[in-house]
């Protein structure tokens, strides 16, 4: 059993910025994002592929970053919660979570917002059942989800409006 395997050079684009780094192969993508890049908006909840607090977009697809090795993100485009706001303006999803009280402690919120982003990219007019399925991989232990559903519906409405270009 090797004590420490040789590092691997990777280049990962996170929220538009390219990061060339050397990583140990066993480093998880979430640890890479939090520790190497110091983007601590992406959270570690269960660390067992259950709770979804670590959800990020990898090449446009929501993934649990605790269940992907950083070396697998070589060449990939990652979006974390820090990539949502543009020029200091909150993304409609962020704004809706605030306006609708779609969070209490906030721990699960970054992951939920990324899952909401994936949903609304694929389906701009989701119904309640589709929202429920889309966030089935994100656990919230505070809210009971009702205000999260409302927040995602609210964000969908904003994102469909002609004034929203993104």
């Amino acid at each position: 059993m090797p004590e420490a395997a040789p590092g691997v050079s990777i280049q990962v684009r996170v929220n538009g910025k390219l990061h060339p780094r050397e990583v140990e192969p066993r480093k998880l993508l979430v640890e890479f994002i939090r520790e190497d890049l110091e983007l601590t908006g992406t959270h570690i909840g269960c660390d067992t592929t259950y709770c979804g607090a670590c959800t990020v977009l990898m090449n446009g697809a929501a993934v649990k970053s605790c269940t992907v090795f950083a070396v697998q993100a070589d060449g990939a485009e990652i979006t974390t919660v820090e990539g949502l706001a543009k020029n200091g303006d909150l993304h409609p999803i962020q704004k809706a979570f605030g306006d609708c009280y779609g969070l209490q402690c906030g721990y699960c919120t970054p992951g939920l917002m990324i899952s909401a982003l994936q949903l609304l990219k694929d389906n701009p007019t989701p119904n309640r059942e589709q929202i429920r399925k889309a966030i089935a991989g994100n656990t919230c232990r505070c809210t009971g989800y009702q205000n999260i559903f409302k927040a995602i519906e609210n964000a969908a409405t904003t994102m469909r409006s002609p004034s929203h270009a993104d």
Binding site: M1, P2, E3, A4, A5, P6, V8, E24, P25, R26, K27, L28, E31, D47, T48, T49, Y50, C51, G52, T55, A61, A62, V63, K64, C66, T67, V68, F69, V71, Q72, D74, S115, Q118, L119, K133, A134, A136, G137, N138, T139
Partner: protein
């Protein structure tokens, strides 16, 4: 949580991956979607010395329909199968793909990885057992095609040699007037089912011409409920006959008690799932659009 340290190898082709497997020996493991392997490594149940990453090989993620069969690439993600309009014509495949864990896991997890893992709680093996399914397995210089029943040996055990990998999954499109359904009972979306039932049948007039019933999570391998099938095959399907098939399925199940429920509970459950899946399969075989969803506790 960090797994034990390992050396990382990025395969450039499936052939290259098979070569790496034979060079690196039994301490090597393939990394496909990683949604089972990475958690196992983090818990240190799996401790590969070498990891061979298949994800950078192009052309391994596809769904092709030819000669009356679907051909799935080994790294075809559950999400691609879920979204495929052609696969939706075989509704049991869509039920399976759309019901695995959650969006995030379906975006990564692969059909080839799921079969090669052979987790008794996995979904694909149970569903594919109701269809005509073959698994193409490749070593460095040759390949062979196994029936799914030959491929699956035991819990977490397949016919794959240490230097062999899954290169394609081939599923025959069922004949006209067929329908199927797959229903699992789950405590929540991201977890494995407590029990599941897959039913695929063909009708001729008002009779059931052929039927296969497979039970998941209630044995070391998916179980064919052959007596349940016999209760319905050739018959005009009535609620009473469905109830007998469900009873036969309960008898065929061989569940173990665990944190998901007692053996008796799972046996009850799997009968109820067979009943619901048979009803949905029958309606689909008769051309009705039936939405099927897993049942979440």
């Amino acid at each position: 949580m960090y797994p034990r340290a390992f050396s990382y190898h990025r395969a450039s082709s499936l052939k290259d991956a098979a070569t790496l497997l034979s060079q690196l020996g039994e301490g090597a493991k393939l990394l496909a979607g990683g949604q089972s392997l990475i958690p196992l490594m983090k818990l240190r149940f799996a401790n590969p010395v070498h990891l061979v990453d298949l994800n950078f090989i192009s052309g391994t993620s596809y769904i092709r329909e030819q000669d009356g069969a679907f051909r799935f690439g080994p790294l075809t993600r559950h999400a691609e199968i879920e979204k495929s309009a052609s696969v939706a014509r075989v509704p049991i495949l869509h039920d399976c793909a759309a019901g695995i864990a959650d969006v995030q896991v379906r975006n990564r997890g692969t059909i080839g990885g799921s079969l090669a893992e052979a987790d008794p709680s996995g979904d694909w093996a149970t569903v594919l057992l109701t269809l005509s399914c073959e698994v193409r397995c490749a070593v460095q210089s040759s390949d062979r095609t196994l029936k799914l029943t030959e491929f699956l040996k035991d819990a977490f055990t397949t016919a794959l040699a240490p230097d062999e990998l899954v290169s394609e999954v081939i599923v025959k499109v069922p004949p006209e007037n067929s329908g199927g359904a797959y229903i699992a009972f789950k405590r929540t979306a991201p977890v494995y089912p407590t029990a599941s039932a897959a039913v695929q049948l063909t009708v001729e007039g008002d009779r059931c011409k052929d039927i296969t019933i497979a039970l998941g999570c209630v044995g070391l391998l998916p179980i064919r409920a052959r007596e349940g099938e016999a209760a319905l095959r050739g018959q005009q399907i009535t609620p009473k006959l469905i109830a007998s098939a469900a009873d036969a399925a309960r008898a065929a199940a061989d569940p173990q008690s665990d944190m998901r429920g007692s053996a008796d509970y799972k046996r009850q459950l799997v009968g109820a799932l067979v009943k619901r899946a048979t009803e949905a399969a029958l309606r689909r075989a008769r051309g009705q659009q039936v939405e099927v969803s897993h049942i979440y506790a």
